[in-house]
Symmetry: C2
Subunit: 195 residues, 2 copies
């Protein structure tokens, strides 16, 4: 949130960002902002002047690990898979999607967002050979666990799961669930609380 | 997370769910699970037997407000918009997407996931007339603030924003940012911490 706000301030003229201004724009507590920025900033802000905007952006990006690049693959090229393959923002966040896989023979051989779609049975060979650490699951709920198992067998250590089910994985694999329905319902709850 | 796990337990045979079993499956602390479930459960679990599975599911759904239905519209029917319009899980979470809008005349009149795509200039009339509370922004970054402003003018009070920018809204409007790039980079950080 800080990063996207600070980037929106980059207009070639603004050189400094102050905690009070950031707090106000993001509707956050000023003390919290000060604490958060102190965690990531290599140089503390200058009193009454604030943080050097470009330096602060670099510091946040460094903290978030955007400097390193991790490679990822997507399984499932339905609407969601296509959206992920054409999403513009991943690379600057340090993750590069390099290929997609699908069980549908009509999709195999296609190119989406500049990435090739391979048959599912090539998942293991390709991931092992290229040592891909991240797998993205964009298949329907009923095949998600099976795809997850195949990713784990292929040496993948981090899974971004868009299927609304709980995946079972070995202890050395990290799963991040992106349950869009839950996210939308949380917005509905926020709305209710506000009214 | 609890809800999707409990739903995955519904096999027609399992009648009870215990905190230790839930904690183990979700890799959570048992005390935390007990506390969390106590917050939502209308009847406390029975010692050594656990919670009535169906009752617990209903209690969590009630807490999350899934019983009420909020209507939503999507602006932008690119890959992401299409993925959202065809996503199967929103309705059971209490949100119903009823229509889509796009500025592209080629898309207007199309039907995606059973929802009509209207021209953007019909946004206000339709939202005002139907008192739509939720708007979903699935347009590129550069048009997101403009679409946000139009949503606010149309009486929308809650915005789910997929564009990776900070939106400026009046105080009575809630924004939930769904920054996919940040989410993916958080997974990369978890992976790094684990290694």
């Amino acid at each position: 949130m800080y990063l996207s706000f600070l980037k929106s301030m980059e207009d070639g003229k603004t050189r400094y960002a102050t905690s009070p201004a950031i707090a106000k724009a993001l509707k956050l507590n000023e003390v919290q902002v000060r604490k958060d920025l102190a965690c990531v900033s290599s140089k503390s802000g200058r009193p009454k002047i604030g943080f050097d905007l470009m330096q602060l952006i670099r510091d946040i990006e460094y903290t978030l690990g955007y400097a390193e690049v991790n490679e990822a693959i997507v399984v499932g090229v339905g609407n969601l898979g296509k959206a992920l393959l054409t999403y513009p923002g991943f690379e600057e966040c340090g993750v590069k999607i390099i290929a997609a896989f699908d069980h549908d023979p009509n999709m195999v051989g296609e190119e989406i967002g500049g990435k090739n779609v391979f048959a599912l049975n090539r998942l293991r060979t390709l991931c092992e050979r290229m040592k891909i650490p991240i797998g993205i699951i964009a298949v329907p709920e009923e095949s998600a666990q099976e795809i997850c198992d195949r990713m784990v067998e292929s040496g993948i250590k981090a899974i971004w799961n868009f299927a609304p089910i709980h995946l079972t994985v070995p202890d050395d694999v990290v799963v991040r669930d992106e349950n869009l329905a839950v996210s939308l319902s949380l917005l509905a709850i926020q709305l209710k609380e506000k009214q």
